[in-house]
Symmetry: C2
Subunit: 355 residues, 2 copies
């Protein structure tokens, strides 16, 4: 029983299921955390109350903050962020005011990032927040960022992401001196776009809370070649969704293969334990919780379609980041980074790719 | 037995295994093609001859062109493309001179693309060649390009890729009116980098040999949402390698799961047929053959580590593109494209992403 002492704001209306998932997920997370935590539940009081009544332990330490406004999943971003009384916005405001230390939402990613950035602002020295996630690998889990917050990133922003990711790997995955790679299309030094080669030159020369291992490629994410993979938000988002797609396709083929004959169906019954173990190894619920790093407050995004267990994992990620003082450690490391001349020296880029 | 009438130049020294794989692969492809084809084998005569002697049918229609020079897999690109007497370069020259209609190599991708581009040049109207590949999906196979030839691409180049890919899907996959999507990080119109939104605007207005379906995301590649996915070479290469990595990881987990107990091992034996069917569905050998599209001559790249069956698939891809007159059809379609005002009108871009 870790002695937590924190308040978590939940956007109870976000995601495909709203309070039906969020409230029981909070109850599940509470059991795991063993107390010392308080929840603020933002959304439709009547709906939240109905679910809260079923969880007496949670009810004792949770408070409902009513609003009948919520952001639709297909709402236009520019309209969504202007609304001040949505469950998402109010939950983020709770972190801004200091009433809560973290906010978890399964709502629209774009709206959550834009609102969190607008309300919470970045940590000193950080130019852009990034979305980080955890990927399964053959070795240890891999932390990857940015998964979609920034379309394009210059070298200095990529270096900041390396710091955000390295501190995250230390805290979330207990890696003492995490190895960090920059995602590129070849591991040779001379390959890739200018900003990547410049970021590599900087990371090779600065002290930061990880070991820079140079360029890595797409397959290195799941090979576990490095503990942290750094990329821009466009590439990272494509990589994340390709990985989800291939996982999904494999499951589809696996099902087809084992359903194709009576004999193979029988073997699937006998191999139930093995197939279940496989499913557990690649279960997206275990990897749920996109961490919005670099903001002045902890913000975690749950996948919109997650069930109770999956959403509870996102809450635990937020609680862990708060408990271990993620932002304080990042602020310290960024200050150290900015104090180094080699962070600013950069490199004159010469391009050599395939073309 | 399709009546082929073509000559295929093979870089017999490329890849991890050289003539040991290339020569028997040519014999395998010949059986599949049923004759009407001739092979030019470029490389070390003595080594090639030893393998050729084992395949009498192939020997009758193959000619060895000796050179003791070959490009090393780790050779610097700039050095590699200057060498005029390598097996790769000489095989490409055979297409340039008209002696062969296609060239297949398992050698270094960068060197192959750079040399092919330098020697063969692009088709009229094409600014940049692209590497296209075929991905398995839940529905029909998906053609994707560019997989690594061009780091960044402007809107007009992406539109040309859409034409290259659509004609490819017609020929390779027999899709009459292939649907085409642009890879982005959201399917909404207003999302993504300027060049993507501009390419979308053009593709919505021009006539081209496919149906434009707007933006698609990473998971759509394996979902089979569209027949052709268009992207720049950086993103495409990352996507390809992430897909390979996740496939590899799943195989690793599957093995672990079925080896973890005596009981699950037994079920794996019983489920052998199903597991074999699964393996076949995701077997990279079936999808071997990176097509270098847009060049004045057909050039196909085999994965360096492919076995005989895998390399033979790359040969069949090349033979198919030649037999069905891929380049002639592309040249026609590009001319049609360039004749349309809407190809040049473009669009004034307004950026709205997450950030």
């Amino acid at each position: 029983m870790t002695p937590y002492n924190q308040t978590i704001a939940l956007d109870a209306m976000g995601g495909d299921f709203g309070p039906e998932v969020v409230v029981p997920a909070a109850a599940t997370a509470l059991k795991e955390l063993g107390g010392g935590v308080k929840f603020l539940l933002y959304g439709d009081e009547r709906k939240i109350q109905a679910f809260l009544d079923k969880h007496s332990e949670l009810k004792a330490i949770a408070e409902i903050r009513h609003t009948d406004q919520a952001i639709g999943n297909n709402e236009k971003l520019s309209a969504a962020i202007r609304r001040k009384d949505t469950s998402m916005r109010m939950a983020i405001n709770a972190v801004k005011s200091g009433e809560a230390q973290s906010i978890v939402s399964a709502g629209n990613t774009g709206a959550l990032m834009a609102t969190a950035k607008m309300v919470l602002k970045c940590l000193p020295g950080i130019n852009r927040p990034a979305i980080a996630g955890v990927f399964p690998s053959k070795q240890k889990d891999t932390v990857m960022l940015d998964l979609g917050a920034n379309l394009a990133c210059d070298a200095h922003i990529l270096v900041q992401f390396a710091v955000l990711g390295a501190v995250c790997a230390r805290i979330i995955k207990g890696q003492d001196n995490p190895s960090v790679g920059l995602l590129n299309i070849g591991s040779e030094d001379m390959k890739g776009p200018d900003q990547l080669r410049e970021a590599a030159a900087i990371l090779s020369n600065v002290d930061f809370p990880g070991r820079f291992r140079g360029f890595v490629e797409g397959h290195d994410i799941t090979n576990g070649t490095v503990n942290v993979v750094v990329t821009d938000g466009f590439t990272g988002n494509v990589a994340l969704k390709v990985a989800e797609g291939v996982g999904d396709l494999t499951g589809h083929f696996l099902k087809e293969a084992f359903m194709s004959s009576l004999f193979s169906r029988l073997s699937a019954v006998l191999g139930y334990g093995a197939l279940k173990r496989l499913k557990k190894r690649v279960d997206p619920r275990f990897y749920n919780g996109g961490m919005f790093l670099g903001l002045n407050g902890i913000c975690v995004k749950s996948h919109g379609g997650m069930d109770v267990y999956g959403f509870s994992q996102a809450i635990l990620v937020a609680a862990n980041l708060v408990e271990q003082g993620y932002n304080k450690r990042v602020a310290y490391e960024i200050e150290q980074l900015m104090g180094q001349e080699s962070f600013f020296s950069g490199m004159a880029g010469q391009s050599e790719g395939f073309s």
